[in-house]
């Protein structure tokens, strides 16, 4: 699995956070502006050249992005992943959460765009109709690819070595109860997203209203025209020429729905995060309670 995602050879990513990934990947917030992107791409090419230089079989099949609290579902990610996946079928994006990892559990996930979304992206048409037609919802935007981490034996040996050396406290970090901050942050981020969602909906609402209003006007206009033509006909005059209705009534610009899809996806991730987190914490709390009772 590792070889599949990070290049062909057995190199580069024996461990998820080691040099290979860093060299090829993008830094956190790969969404940065184009200049930053350019630098990153340059770095990427550099790395490729270097790899070729030492005669290593290389094929890059994706990139990684570090993020925190799972806030990675963005437009930038979508665009980048699309271009990768468009060029190389097998491309994936690795999402790495350093904060969560620091708390004791490795947080590494691989994602791909679903074929449906790929099609929509190829069309570059994010109008409500197109999305509706494609039958895409936020659940079916990304598909998670299971990750299997495979290290070389040497590294396994090192890991064993380290584990023995590490202090007891480090091992029990998982059991730490002080995690309210994490939850708070998640909630706040979720709130922000909900706000955005609200705005988006309001925007969409206005659009809908405008369209229907215009539709009504158009209808009225057509009726009037028809009536007049009828009169003219009865008087024996030639009917009025047909006018281009689309010129008279320019339909309002429909808001791009992709953003709201992304936001919904993001909200979904947050919710899952929170769910996961609270489930774990509840377990911990119960454990702690049991322990305390036992001690007493």
């Amino acid at each position: 699995m590792a070889s599949r995602k990070e290049g062909t050879g057995s190199t580069a990513t024996s461990s998820s956070s080691t040099a290979g990934a860093a060299g090829k990947g993008k830094g956190k917030g790969g969404s940065g502006d184009s200049a930053v992107k350019q630098v990153q791409i340059d770095g990427l090419m550099e790395m490729m050249r270097s790899l070729r230089h030492v005669n290593i079989d290389h094929l890059h099949v994706g990139w990684y992005q570090s993020t925190y609290y799972g806030s990675f579902v963005t437009r930038a990610l979508l665009d980048s992943q699309f271009s990768y996946q468009h060029a190389i079928e097998e491309s994936v994006v690795l999402i790495y959460d350093p904060i969560k990892t620091a708390q004791g559990s490795l947080s590494l996930k691989a994602y791909r765009l679903t074929p449906k979304l790929m099609e929509v992206c190829k069309e570059k048409d994010f109008s409500p109709e197109a999305l509706k037609k494609a039958n895409i919802t936020f659940e079916y935007m990304f598909e998670e690819v299971p990750i299997v981490i495979k290290n070389s034996h040497l590294i396994n040996v090192l890991m064993w070595e380290l584990e023995k050396k590490s202090a007891v406290a480090d091992k029990h970090e998982l059991l730490s109860l002080a995690s309210s901050n994490h939850l708070g942050k998640n909630l706040q981020l979720l709130m922000d997203r909900v706000d955005e969602m609200s705005q988006d909906i309001v925007k969409y609402n206005t659009y809908m209203r405008n369209t229907s209003k215009q539709q009504q006007q158009k209808h009225q206009y057509q009726q009037r025209r028809q009536q007049e033509n009828m009169q003219r006909q009865s008087r024996g005059e030639p009917p009025l020429p047909e006018e281009d209705l689309s010129k008279l009534f320019k339909p309002p610009q429909p808001p791009a729905r992709m953003d709201s899809l992304l936001i919904a996806g993001q909200i979904n991730t947050y919710c899952q995060n929170i769910k996961e987190f609270t489930a774990q914490n509840l377990g911990k709390l119960f454990m702690a309670q049991a322990l305390q009772e036992y001690n007493n």
Partner: protein, 910 residues
């Protein structure tokens, strides 16, 4: 040459009929003799007299000249224009004409013009040739002049009967002029020249002036005389105008009453002298003129003018100096005042000389006072431009003069001075009755004060010069005090109010160090207190202000003086830390309500007072009051402009030059300035002391409002900094301190607010710096405690007050009182446990998570609502069902909201 002499005598004989012509000499007439003639006063006296008259007459003659020119080229339109101007000019000169009689040249032009017009009118053919405009102008002018001449009928007829006389005068004048080489001379010579060749164009004629003049001198009498005659009779010749001018010069002096017989004799003698001199000069001049007659001539004229001014001659030698003479002289000098071309410096000198003469001749104090008044007025007049300020020497003179004047007034209590005394009712010398002099000492002093302000405004405040000028302030104050004493005795209440205000304006901004010292050190040993007393002879400024202001409050009837007095009074109170008096006075005056209707200087004063009030409140530890007082000034970001301490550059394009000048004049002189950095620091620190606990208390409240926008702006600026170094500026210090305070870390906060840098920049500027610093430390401790409790109460079940008192180095009762207050105000959900001296938290407030969850729920509610609307739209009328649901949501929200949104936790705490 003999001709000059004869004509000279001729004119003399004439002068006996036509008044005192001899005494008067043309301008700069005795150019050569001038320096010698110091004692021989007569000529110069007359000369000075003439300047007013001269100006008018010159105007007239110039106009006449153009008319004549126009007549010659048959430009009737031009004639008409000029004639109208002439009429106006004559109107202006009316006062002089009344005195001197109608000038002959004026009559002459009127007569000639009429003749000329009639001639044109008769000349049918010529008329036909005329263009339309001219023809029209001709008829108008003809009518006009007919009408106009009716007033002068008698003069004109007499002139027509006896044109020679004027011609003779001209001739006589002519020679005088030619020998005197003044500006009139060219006219004269032109006249003579033109009489010979009257057809020569006048423009050219001027070029030959000098030469012709000389020729003229050599030419025979008879020929000349003939010329005169023809010239005067042929009305359309150019020469007429020149002659007219001569008549002007001549007739100017006609009405002058001969002073004494002696004068006449002296004049005769002089005439002879002149004639002699003429010989010498003539030869010299001939050489000179050949090269550059005109230029040389002009130059000499110019040289002559200042000379004359430097040596002002007052009276003829031997004239008995009486009151009447001096007053007349004074009036003559004053008539020139304010007119264009009057040398103001010379005028001042003349007046000063006059004072000397008056003093020498013991004419009494009345006259001297009157002249002094006028000297001061002339000194003020010296600068025609409002924006420019007096020169130091002028200023010094002015101060001295006022002082002298005051001396006299104090020494002679029987002199009455007042604006309301009319010129006619003045009594300058009758010693039996009290002397009455017109003039207002108060106005003079007010003007002096203005000038002082102007000088200060226009001096670079960082230069030694400014210090030098500032030294005059004491003198100004002394003068004001003297005038005050004088007016207290003699002035009306109104005047007293005005001088009191002036006094107040010079007192209110000064910190009374002596009084301050006295307050600090109560009298100890007898020896020391004696010494103190000697030092403290003067009235306490507070007492003084009280006395002056109360008088104004009681007696003043103009609103402005009272307003200013109140503001100054408040300012003075505030400056001396009498906060409650200052505040009460401010509130009682109700000035806040209507100050926007006042004029800008008063508004500036109001702003200054408000600021001073705020700073005073801060010194007293009343942060809230300080903040409120300073809010208006600081929040606008234009404190500099509002306090009149500088112009803003950015608004330069909005206002034009004129406005800028006005604004510049409004600026407060530098020594009255309020330190802007101190002001801002006081404001920011008081905002910090208010805002930080407030922010801590309302951390999660979405609807909380800012107390001080400016403070928040500073905080944001601080946050935006990518790299935070140690604070440098005052603002950075405050921002750093605020951050420390947010964490309840009062020690760091303290070290940021009070340290070397801040001491030097701000705190040491207070008169009681140490007291302020102590107050500030205490405030920081208290507010930090409050902030700490707001921020961290959620992590405590209970907290011992002793711990708190240790943490914040406050004594237990204070901690107790602060916490009690917070509990009473429902800011802190806790109760005090008396036996253990602990604060027990109730934990009724939602925690951070709970708060967030509540907010999230609220937001989700609105999201659903919005979503439903979209759905409604799609479904058309189908939405009724969901509407009910919505209400359900609202209910839910209401339910959730019950807990309130006070949050006690900040994420940064972790």
């Amino acid at each position: 040459m003999s001709r000059f002499f004869t004509t000279g005598s001729d004119s003399e004989s004439e002068s006996s009929l036509s008044g005192e012509e001899l005494v008067t000499k043309p301008v700069g007439g005795n150019y050569g003799k001038q320096p010698l003639l110091l004692s021989e006063d007569e000529e110069d006296t007359k000369r000075v007299v003439r300047s007013a008259k001269d100006k008018r007459f010159e105007e007239l003659t110039n106009l006449i000249r153009t008319i004549r020119n126009a007549m010659k080229i048959r430009d009737v339109t031009k004639c008409l224009e000029e004639f109208e101007l002439l009429g106006k000019a004559y109107g202006k000169a009316k006062s002089i004409v009344d005195k001197e009689g109608v000038p002959r040249f004026y009559i002459r032009i009127l007569a000639d013009l009429e003749d000329y017009l009639n001639e044109l009118w008769e000349d049918k053919e010529g008329k036909k040739k005329m263009n339309k405009n001219n023809a029209k102008a001709l008829s108008t002018l003809r009518q006009k002049i007919r009408k106009y001449n009716r007033d002068f009928e008698s003069h004109i007829t007499s002139y027509k009967q006896n044109p020679e006389q004027s011609a003779d005068e001209d001739a006589e004048k002519n020679e005088e002029d030619s020998e005197d080489e003044d500006e009139d001379e060219d006219g004269v010579s032109a006249a003579t020249f033109l009489k010979k060749k009257s057809e020569a164009p006048s423009g050219e004629s001027r070029k030959f002036l000098k030469k012709m003049d000389d020729e003229d001198e050599d030419s025979e009498d008879s020929e000349d005389d003939e010329d005169w005659d023809t010239g005067s009779t042929s009305s359309d010749s150019d020469s007429e105008e020149e002659e007219g001018k001569q008549t002007a010069l001549a007739s100017r002096f006609l009405k002058k009453a001969p002073t004494t017989d002696e004068d006449k004799k002296a004049a005769e003698k002089k005439r002879e002298d002149k004639a002699k001199k003429k010989h010498d000069r003539k030869s010299k001049r001939l050489d000179e003129e050949e090269e550059d007659n005109e230029g040389g001539e002009w130059e000499r004229v110019r040289g002559g003018v200042p000379l004359v001014k430097e040596k002002p001659k007052m009276f003829a030698k031997g004239t008995e100096i009486t009151h009447a003479v001096v007053i007349k002289k004074l009036n003559e000098i004053l008539q020139a005042r304010g007119k264009k071309g009057t040398d103001r410096a010379a005028q001042i000198e003349l007046l000063q000389l006059l004072v000397q003469i008056a003093a020498e001749n013991n004419l009494g104090e009345g006259v001297i006072v009157k002249i002094k008044f006028n000297i001061i007025a002339s000194l003020y007049d010296y600068n025609p431009n409002l924006a420019t300020y007096m020169k130091p020497e002028m200023w010094g003179k002015c101060l001295d003069c006022i002082n002298e004047l005051m001396d006299i007034l104090f020494a002679n209590p029987n002199i009455f001075v007042g604006e309301n005394i009319l010129e006619e009712s003045e009594n300058l010398h009758n010693a039996d009755q009290p002397l009455r002099v017109r003039g207002c000492i108060l106005t003079l002093v007010e003007r002096m004060d203005e000038e002082f302000t102007k000088i200060m405004q226009n001096t670079d405040p960082h230069s030694q010069e400014y210090v030098e000028h500032l030294k005059d302030e004491a003198q100004v104050c002394a003068i004001i005090e003297r005038v005050q004493r004088y007016l207290e005795e003699k002035g009306t209440t109104e005047e007293v109010c005005r001088i009191y205000l002036l006094r107040i304006l010079h007192t209110y901004y000064k910190f009374d160090y002596k009084a301050h010292q006295r307050q600090l050190t109560p009298p100890e040993g007898s020896s020391k207190s004696e010494q103190d007393q000697a030092e403290n002879e003067g009235e306490d400024s507070a007492v003084l202000m009280e006395r002056l202001c109360k008088y104004i409050y009681a007696k003043d009837r103009t609103d402005r003086i009272r307003t200013c007095a109140i503001l100054c009074h408040i300012y003075h109170h505030a400056l001396h830390s009498r906060w409650y008096q200052a505040r009460d006075l401010m509130l009682m005056s109700h000035l806040q309500d209507n100050i926007q209707h006042a004029d800008p200087p008063v508004q500036i004063l109001y702003n200054r007072t408000m600021v001073q009030l705020g700073i005073c409140a801060f010194r007293q530890g009343l942060t809230k009051d300080a903040h409120n007082a300073l809010l208006d000034i600081q929040s606008s970001g234009r404190a500099k402009e509002l306090l009149g301490q500088g112009l803003l550059l950015r608004s330069l394009q909005e206002r034009n030059q004129e406005q800028e000048k006005v604004e510049r004049r409004r600026q407060v002189p530098f020594h009255l300035h309020i330190n802007l950095e101190l002001l801002e620091c006081v404001y920011l620190v008081s905002a910090m002391l208010l805002e930080i606990p407030y922010m801590a208390a309302h951390e999660s409240d979405a609807r909380r409002r800012m107390i001080s926008k400016q403070f928040h702006h500073q905080l944001r600026v601080g946050e935006r900094q990518p790299l935070l170094g140690p604070p440098e500026s005052m603002r950075e210090h405050v921002v750093a301190a605020s951050k420390a305070m947010k964490m309840g870390d009062w020690k760091t906060c303290h070290s940021f607010i009070i340290n070397e840098k801040m001491n030097g920049k701000v705190w040491d500027l207070f008169p009681e710096a140490d007291k302020v610093r102590t107050m500030l430390v205490r405030k920081i401790q208290e507010e930090s405690l409050r902030t700490y409790l707001f921020t961290y109460s959620s992590v405590y079940d209970s907290i011992s007050m002793e711990t708190l008192s240790d943490m914040f180095e406050l004594d237990l009762p204070t901690v107790h009182s602060i916490i009690s207050k917070m509990i009473i105000n429902e800011e802190l959900m806790a109760s005090l446990d008396q036996p253990t001296q602990t604060v027990v938290m109730h934990r009724t407030e939602p925690t951070a998570q709970q708060n967030l969850a509540l907010q999230l729920a609220e937001k989700l509610g609105s999201l659903v609502e919005n979503n439903e609307r979209v759905f409604d739209h799609k479904q058309g009328t189908y939405g009724g069902y969901f509407r009910d649901q919505k209400d359900g949501y609202r209910k839910n929200e209401g339910y959730m909201r019950r807990g309130g949104y006070r949050q006690q936790q900040s994420q940064t705490a972790y």
